[in-house]
Amino acid sequence: MNKKIRVLVAKPGLDGHDRGALVISQALRDYGMEVIYTGLRQTPQQIVAAAVQEDVDAIGLSCLSGAHNELFPEVMALLKERGADDIIVIAGGVIPWEDIPFLESAGVQKIFTPGTPTIETAKFIEAAVRARDGLPASTGMEAPKKIDHIGIAVESLDEVLPFYVNTLGLKLEAIEEVPSQKVKVAFIKIGESRLELLEPLSDESPIRQFITKRGQGVHHVALGVEGISERIGELKQAGIKMIQEEPVKGAGGASIAFIHPSSTHKVLLELCDKTELEGGAS
């Protein structure tokens, strides 16, 4: 079941400041939700009627006029009256700290104060809707940025390298031994990705076991991610089994972790984070 989450972004009250409402609408759309924006000056009745008619999963209320203590509880009461109080309600705007407990006790699930990143709001809505529907907390992780490399198991680097370097004309970047995996690795640059040729150095090497079982060939695909620890957390929340639950050091100093093939329809996938090495955005 992969139904898009539907959100009504609503502006109760009379204030015309809809920058926040418009920005959050766009951000939720970019996150993959369907968003309906009500426009300005909506009464609680209009908001609840729209929410019911549009069959939304969540309502985001935005109010900057100071009328929130009157209007938000009215929205909550009307939702209850209509039997629609399974709709998740969140809110934002100019809302003083001390009003938050009152509004939350009225049933608003969360008040987002100014400065909250939009991604946080999107994730909150997603988690709340999924919790309501009895689904795992997350559908997955923030998308990988690229194919970092493709790992290929080989018997002997000396034997295969001439094909890649001379025949295909690719550039050999480095050869390196990775003691933890008992392999010797050759990196071959291709566009923004690499081929990683893996030669087993002993019989205990996982690559040796792989070759024994399946023969030489493609071993794994590595997905380039940022913030590997959070990404692992997201996958675990989505019920995905990891081989490494914490990132470990891989070839070239990258932080890596393998996803268990039982969760990936039998493909060995590696998460590979080189943000720190490459000085990218954190």
């Binding site: 204030d15 418009l22 951000a27 000056r41 006029s65 003083p96 400065g115």
Partner: protein, 547 residues
């Protein structure tokens, strides 16, 4: 001998002469090292570009609209205030006047701004929240009680129902025995930016433009010292526009008002000197200074060359500035004092006529008295301690600032051409063009902040784990009820027949083409409420539904 020497010489003589009437603050201005500070720098240089820069107080006004600027008089420190009931706000105003403030600036609550009475169902929760609640002349009388309206100038942030509030002000003055030609002040009265950015519109564009030009014509005859419009970029910027968009859309709106007034049969020099502007002072210091300087030059050229205005007062872009509300953070609110200082400095370097500095806690609530005082003190420190007000347009001649000023003018020109090609500002607004441009910039800004490409100190960098939560101001929550009772009493005690007749006359006027201002003045004099007056106009004009 340099080419423009004659002109500079003439300027010096004229300035000396005008100083007999408007003397400077000091005989001699000097730095802490006792260096003398001259009135003006640069104009004696051979490479001085007099075409582009002009001289202070002279076309095209790049360096300011007065020859001596702040050496004669500081900008007006005009803090926007008002909340709760008319009585409460009156008390605050009288306190401020006692402290030596000469200008008032009234904030109205949202029902007033949208033409609803306090007992209308749409007003629920809003009465007195973001400004003072005004339903009828009775409230306006209470608001202005014991304030000598011939001695103060009053700025009112009111747009769609500007005629109604101005009418009330005129009648209160009348009751104080002060004739309309003696009162002075400003109404915002800028409906186009309401559609674009601020949202407190009522009627569709066409009848709204009629109400505005009716005010121009009425004030020309009856209230000549009133600034009939404050064409506002402030809210456009707050909605997410960048500096060039703020300026371009504001100028485009200004052109639309000028065109509408000319079409309504007015002579440009009869209303143009009463047009005022209102800009935002945002974070990027030099760009903001350049924006203000470019604004003056663009407007002067437009009025003189395109519209053929003859009166130099018509060429001068006078403006109020407010520091950028949306730059304030809810996190570590004391940091906002520093932001406001830099923004206020940009406004002063740009030659503003008046300035409002925001309070540090405005991302959280209306300002407390402490916060509001710090905001005012910020202006006073810039004025009295920094020395930046001792020479005219001190950043002129900076390679960077002059480049930015020229570039700003060019880029604004491109936007103006684009808007012209869409059929002018009114058509562009109706097509949602400016709204889309602003939203695009707002969203890009948000993404840049979230990616950390744009640093907001205390919010996405240099954050604190456990923030102290400041004391915030609360508005009396029972005010809505009190205001409702007042209205019921009013409706029971006023001469109902007269009130009804006035409203009917307004309806007939709205159906025709006559100037509606005198009819609205009659309505308020007989205690018709703002909701009743705007209700009649809603029925006749319809309501704007947004794009």
């Amino acid at each position: 001998m340099i080419k423009h020497q004659e002109q500079v010489k003439k300027w010096k003589l004229a300035t000396e002469k005008s100083m007999q009437r408007f003397p400077e603050r000091k005989e001699r201005f000097e730095t802490s090292s006792k260096f003398e500070v001259s009135r003006l720098y640069g104009a004696d240089r051979e490479d001085y570009d007099i075409e582009k820069l002009g001289l202070p107080g002279e076309y095209p006004y790049t360096r300011g609209i007065q020859p001596t600027m702040y050496r004669a008089r500081y900008w007006t420190m005009r803090q926007y205030a008002g909340f709760g009931s008319a009585e409460e706000t009156n008390k605050r105003f009288r306190y401020l006047l006692k402290q030596g403030q000469t200008g008032l600036s009234v904030a109205f609550d949202l029902p007033t701004q949208i033409g609803y009475d306090s007992d209308h169902s749409m007003s629920k929760g809003e009465v007195g929240k973001v400004g003072v609640a005004i339903d009828s002349l009775e409230d306006m009388e209470a608001l202005l009680r014991e304030i000598p309206l011939d001695q103060v100038s009053t700025s009112m942030t009111i747009n769609a129902p500007a005629s109604v509030l101005l009418a009330m002000y005129i009648v209160v003055a009348e009751k104080q025995g002060i004739s309309p030609e003696k009162i002075s002040g400003t109404i915002q009265n800028d409906i186009l930016k309401e559609y674009i950015a601020r949202g407190t519109y009522i009627f569709p564009p066409k009848p709204s433009m009629r109400l505005i030009t009716d005010i121009f014509a009425y004030c020309k005859e009856q209230v000549p010292k009133w600034n009939t419009i404050s064409i506002s970029g402030y809210h456009i910027r707050e909605a997410g526009a960048n500096a060039v968009q703020e300026l371009a859309f504001t100028i485009a709106n200004g052109k639309a008002y000028v065109d509408a007034a000319i079409e309504a049969g007015l002579n440009i020099d009869d209303f143009a000197p009463r047009l005022a502007f209102f800009f935002n002072a945002h974070n990027q210091f030099f760009e903001e200074v350049a924006k203000f300087r470019a604004a003056r030059r663009i407007w002067a050229k437009l009025m003189k060359d395109t519209y053929g205005a003859q009166n130099p007062k018509s060429w001068q872009l006078r403006f109020h500035t407010q520091t950028g509300g949306s730059t304030l953070t809810a996190q570590q609110p004391d940091n906002n004092i520093v932001r406001v200082t830099l923004q206020a400095l940009a406004a002063v370097m740009g030659g503003t006529q008046s300035l409002h500095t925001n309070s540090r806690d405005e991302a959280l609530a209306l300002p407390t008295e402490d916060s509001a005082r710090i905001a005012l003190r910020t202006q006073q420190i810039i004025a009295h301690e920094s020395g930046v007000a001792d020479t005219v347009d001190p950043l002129a001649g900076s390679y960077y600032v002059e480049h930015l000023t020229d570039h700003m003018e060019e880029e604004v020109g491109k936007y103006l051409e684009k808007i012209e090609s869409l059929g002018g500002a009114v058509a562009a607004v109706e097509q949602g063009y400016m709204q889309r441009e602003i939203h695009h910039t707002a969203y890009e800004t948000q993404k840049a902040i979230e990616k950390g490409e744009e640093i907001i100190v205390g919010m996405n960098s240099f954050t604190l784990e456990n923030e102290v939560r400041p004391e915030l101001l609360r508005v009396d929550p029972t005010l809505g009820e009190k205001q409702k009772e007042k209205l019921t009493k009013l409706r029971n005690t006023r001469d109902q027949n007269r009130a009804s007749a006035r409203l009917e006359a307004l309806r007939q006027g709205a159906k025709g083409t006559e100037n509606l201002m005198p009819l609205i003045v009659d309505c308020v004099r007989d205690y018709c409420t703002i909701g009743e007056i705007c209700g009649i106009l809603r029925e006749e004009f319809g309501e704007y539904a947004g794009v």
